[in-house]
């Protein structure tokens, strides 16, 4: 499947003809392909006329409802893995997962240091995704070259989140412990109400140790200098 996609992508001529075709397509109903068109355009426009004739489409509007489920099943192949809509400005990753470019781009920007495929966690990057061009896209423009649409970039309301938090009784205070988790376990164990003192005491110890070390190194430095002078003088 991926091979067929890449062939269409890699054929710029085909892209050009399809874009120019857009204007001539309505003429197909009159079954007179414009004479001025070159052979490739002619071929593609006749292909187009194989598609459901207008009469059929009128009669099929009612049974459409029954076909809906089947259509849905077919469509689900083209659903973006992030917004769960049919992918727009679709791109496909090297691992074969389909996204809207705006959706994927937003994800890449939220975790710039760890760019992973949302579905399978393969490493991905902006340069290694392949844009998908369908038959009749209005503009066969690489979605990545466009500026990402003016998405409402979320406001930073993280702290808000914890305030709005409902249905939760307060547990102690929420401020000081963030970095504790499980890592700091042994320190905390000395007794919950003495957390701070304890750590400070330890810090104090560390501090005096540090001073001692500094003093010793100074002493050694002076000894070395005196020894050096003695060497020179002697």
């Amino acid at each position: 499947m991926s091979s067929s996609q890449t062939t269409t992508v890699n054929d710029p001529h085909l892209d050009n003809t399809t874009t120019t075709n857009n204007d001539t397509l309505p003429n197909n109903n009159s079954q007179e392909p414009s004479t001025s068109t070159d052979s490739s355009q002619y071929r593609s426009s006749t292909q187009y006329s194989f598609k459901p004739p207008p009469e059929n489409s009128k009669t099929s509007t009612k049974p459409d409802l029954d076909d809906n489920e089947e259509e849905k099943r077919d469509d689900s192949m083209y659903v973006c893995n992030i917004c769960l809509d049919i992918a727009k400005e679709s791109v496909i990753t090297m691992c074969g997962h389909l996204f809207c470019w705006p959706c994927l781009n937003c994800w890449l920007e939220t975790k710039p240091q760890r760019q992973l495929c949302p579905v399978c966690k393969a490493a991905i990057s902006k340069d290694k995704v392949v844009p998908l061009y369908g038959r009749n896209n209005e503009k066969q423009q690489d979605p990545r070259s466009k500026k990402s649409p003016p998405r409402p970039q979320a406001q930073r309301t993280e702290p808000d989140n914890s305030q709005n938090y409902q249905g939760f009784q307060s547990f102690g205070d929420a401020g000081f412990h963030l970095s504790f988790g499980i890592g700091a376990f042994p320190f905390v164990f000395f007794g919950s109400s003495f957390n701070f003192n304890d750590i400070r005491q330890r810090n104090g110890q560390n501090g005096s140790q540090f001073e001692e070390d500094q003093f010793l190194s100074k002493v050694f430095l002076w000894v070395a200098i005196i020894f050096f002078c003695w060497l020179i003088l002697a």
Binding site: A154, N161, F185
Partner: protein
């Protein structure tokens, strides 16, 4: 047009209501009132130590969902499990570090249910006392140190 987070949540809701997952029930009334707060009931799977028990999960979404993970915790009766603290916080990597926008409410419920199912002993995490006294109200603010990757 509604914001993308809401749009996606409505899609997920529709999907879960039309194709319900076994042992996972959504409080439709609550969700209808506020699409950003879900209450999901999880049934302990058969032939596990939680068989016959039901638990409630609270999901809160912000406007950056699905790029930002939902806040998920147990409320009410908290299952006794080595990765679930007595205040309802859950030590599960997909809720923080390993979250991706391709995950969903359904996927989270499924993985919590299988976390429960794989337990052989009902016990609290070893650091439950200390953690629950010192932690933030928001489990997403905890720097989790994941016990093991298998769960």
């Amino acid at each position: 047009m509604s914001c993308p987070a809401e749009r996606r949540l409505r899609k997920e809701l529709l999907e879960l209501l039309t194709n319900p997952m076994p042992g996972i029930y959504i409080d439709e009334e609550k969700v209808a009132k506020n699409i950003n707060e879900w209450i999901v009931t999880i049934e302990g799977a058969e032939k596990t130590i939680y068989e016959g028990e039901t638990f409630q999960l609270q999901f809160s979404f912000n406007e950056k969902y699905p790029f930002d993970s939902p806040t998920v915790l147990f409320i009410g009766k908290i299952p006794v499990h080595s990765h679930i603290y007595s205040n309802g916080h859950i030590c599960l990597s997909i809720l923080t570090d390993d979250w991706t926008p391709a995950l969903s409410v359904g996927a989270v419920c499924l993985s919590i249910r299988s976390m429960l199912s794989s337990a052989t002993k009902k016990e609290r995490p070893p650091d439950d006392m200390i953690y629950t006294r010192t932690c933030s109200k928001n489990p997403k603010k905890t720097k989790w140190f994941f016990h093991d990757d298998t769960v």
